[in-house]
């Protein structure tokens, strides 16, 4: 089937999210949440009620049991209206929930998946002030007790999305710094544990409503049965989960680009200068046709990466290429969109200036563009 032909379920989900997004994320509310630098709690509640926070969680744990493509479709359609809201859904589903589904013990799955499906937002705690692209140089430690029955976490994580809303944190710590990255271990931590301090909220260029904070762990005790998977395998898990999580970011970027076109095309068809509609001006045509072509390519890359993953085929290189390309074309399209709208595009009267600011981080988070290219290059170099 063509990549852009969705299954009946996927189409139903696309229609459902589109409808909810258009009716519930009204422009005034989106702007208000941006101004307050906070997603309204009722919207977070709605995300759970609508089922957007449990897309891939199996039905037996209270989820909807859908596929990865459905998650990317949801993220894309939400991003068309508010990429900050989409990011909550993206990080929760594609980074934390999936990590617990893939590597969590039966105990952790039974304890947390139902909560993550119904009312508990999650955050992915990997980066530190001095460990960004070089994530493995992290210095947050988890020291085992003498009998190994629990661990004490100390350190500060930076740039954590969903920090303020999260009830559950997936925290990457080193249990044995002498082993280097092979000591990195993932812990599932209740956000209300003693010693967890949500620090200052970053004041950002875009995605302002999405909470991005430092989280300090001050002698936080965690039981050993809250280790995700195996001790010392954390580095593998974070690479693996980011490999797929970045397809979700690509979906966000593509959604933003589509959101730009949603505003631009009606405007071009209506606005007239020199007696010609802008949509018919040759110079404009060249630009918007080129942009639409690049967006189409990015979209196909995203669907293909989803399908490769769903079919158990290697997809890491394609996922990196997708995120790299999607963030690049969206930056261009959002910038052009302001120009196409002219003076009004530069004001807050249209949403396009927000999309321009929102999408910039696309080339930075979940692996910078340089890291994506390096990843792709390494895979190419090791191909026979």
């Amino acid at each position: 089937m063509p990549l852009t032909v969705l299954t009946d379920d996927e189409e139903m989900i696309q229609n459902s999210v589109k409808r909810w997004g258009n009716q519930h994320l009204q422009p005034a509310l989106v702007r208000e949440m941006e101004k307050n630098e906070r997603i309204s709690p009722s919207i977070i509640q709605d995300l759970f009620t609508q089922g957007y926070m449990c897309l891939e969680i199996p039905e037996k744990y209270g989820g909807v049991g859908l596929n990865f493509t459905s998650a990317c479709i949801t993220i894309q359609e939400l991003s068309r209206v508010d990429p900050s809201v989409a990011l909550v859904v993206d990080v929760h589903n594609t980074l934390v929930v999936n990590a617990i589904r893939f590597w969590g013990s039966k105990f952790l799955q039974a304890k947390y998946l139902p909560k993550l499906a119904t009312d508990t937002v999650s955050a992915f705690c990997l980066s530190e002030a001095n460990a960004g692209s070089d994530a493995f140089s992290m210095i947050t430690t988890a020291t085992a007790s003498s009998d190994g029955s629990d661990y004490t976490i100390n350190g500060t994580k930076s740039w954590i999305t969903n920090a303020r809303e999260a009830g559950l944190l997936l925290v990457f710590c080193n249990v044995d710094p002498s082993k280097g990255y092979k000591g990195i271990t993932a812990f599932v931590v209740d956000a209300d544990s003693a010693g967890v301090h949500i620090g200052k909220t970053e004041s950002k260029l875009g995605l302002k409503a999405s909470s991005t904070c430092q989280i300090t762990f001050d002698n936080v005790k965690v039981d050993a049965d809250h280790i995700l998977g195996e001790i010392g395998q954390g580095y593998k898990y974070c690479i693996a989960i980011l490999n797929e999580g970045r397809i979700g970011i690509a979906a966000q970027q593509i959604g933003i680009a589509k959101g730009c076109f949603d505003v631009v095309m009606p405007y071009l068809k209506e606005r007239e200068q020199f007696g010609i509609k802008l949509v018919d001006m040759p110079a404009m045509q060249q630009q918007y046709a080129q942009a639409a072509t690049e967006l189409y390519a990015a979209e196909l890359m995203m669907y293909n990466a989803c399908r490769l993953k769903e079919n158990g085929l290697p997809f890491a290189k394609e996922a990196a290429m997708t995120k790299l390309f999607a963030s690049q074309i969206t930056e261009k399209i959002s910038s052009r969109s302001i120009e196409w709208l002219g003076g009004i595009g530069y004001t807050t009267d249209t949403i396009v200036e927000k999309f321009y600011r929102d999408c910039k981080v696309g080339s930075i988070y979940e692996g910078t563009s340089n890291i994506q290219r390096q990843t792709i290059a390494k895979m190419m170099a090791s191909e026979p």
Partner: protein, 258 residues
């Protein structure tokens, strides 16, 4: 109380329809649940949620092509317990299958298949054919009381108190005893979203399938459509040079001023 809700699959309200050689172009056009039927489903589900109504089940009924099952799935995702699909490939937008046949099919379902229906809820009209006839015709054929254009439905003893919207204002009708037919208007309620969990659960709910021609109902159109055409294109306005000219035009050309 057992409720039967009619749901029709129609061209989506946001689509800009095009007229072809055979009437409105339906090929590759987005189809959705008729907005007034959606309001009827919401009314049925709210009654079910109201303990005082003692609703045993809500059954959704749709007549049309195979894709009506998606429409029924939406109705079940909103809260209908199960559904009936009467399959026909005849066009339901007045071109082939018309109100009288639809009303008679509903009657057959009630008399032969779902014998204990207490309340039929339908939308006041479908946005493709805009007839508004099925509700009243069905009530006539069943010889049941009816209330159309309902803006409010309240339980009242063994019956219902229904506020109807008319051109002169609101009229309140007391339906002394069920069973009855009620058609639903815009202001009756705001339909809920079908959440993803409910959409997936709806897949497991039952749809009973029948063929339209297995019922003893004449499906041929009673009215012949002679022509379908778009309304005339809006004519361009003119600019006037001053207020006097404007007043002159309004008075002598448009006839809007005395």
């Amino acid at each position: 109380m057992k409720i039967l809700v009619g749901v029709k699959r129609v061209v989506d309200y946001a689509v800009k329809v095009r007229v072809g050689a055979n009437g409105v172009e339906l090929k590759n056009v987005k189809m959705s649940l008729n907005p007034f039927c959606e309001i009827a489903v919401e009314a049925a589900v709210r009654l079910k949620e109201n303990k005082a109504a003692s609703v045993s089940e809500v059954v959704a009924l749709s007549i049309g092509p195979k894709q009506c099952q998606e429409t029924l799935r939406t109705a079940m995702a909103m809260g209908c317990d199960r559904a009936i699909h009467i399959h026909t490939d005849l066009r339901g937008d007045y071109m082939e299958l018309q109100s009288d046949s639809v009303a008679k099919l509903f009657q057959k379902v009630i008399e032969e298949k779902e014998k204990d229906v207490d309340l039929v809820l339908v939308g006041k009209q479908a946005i493709d054919s805009d007839c508004g006839q099925v509700g009243p015709m069905l009530a006539g054929y069943l010889n049941w009381p009816q209330a159309t254009f309902a803006a409010k439905i309240d339980l009242d003893g063994d019956g219902l108190m229904v506020e109807r919207e008319t051109d002169q204002g609101t009229e309140t009708i007391k339906i002394a005893k069920l069973p009855a037919v009620v058609s639903c208007d815009l202001r009756l309620n705001e339909p809920r979203y079908a959440t993803l969990p409910n959409i997936m659960k709806a897949k497991k709910k039952k749809i009973d399938q029948f063929q339209a021609d297995e019922f003893d109902v004449d499906l041929t159109a009673k009215n012949k459509v002679l022509e379908v055409f778009e309304p005339p294109a809006r004519k361009e306005g003119i600019t006037v040079d001053n207020v006097n000219q404007l007043i002159d035009k309004l008075k002598n050309e448009a006839g809007l001023l005395q």
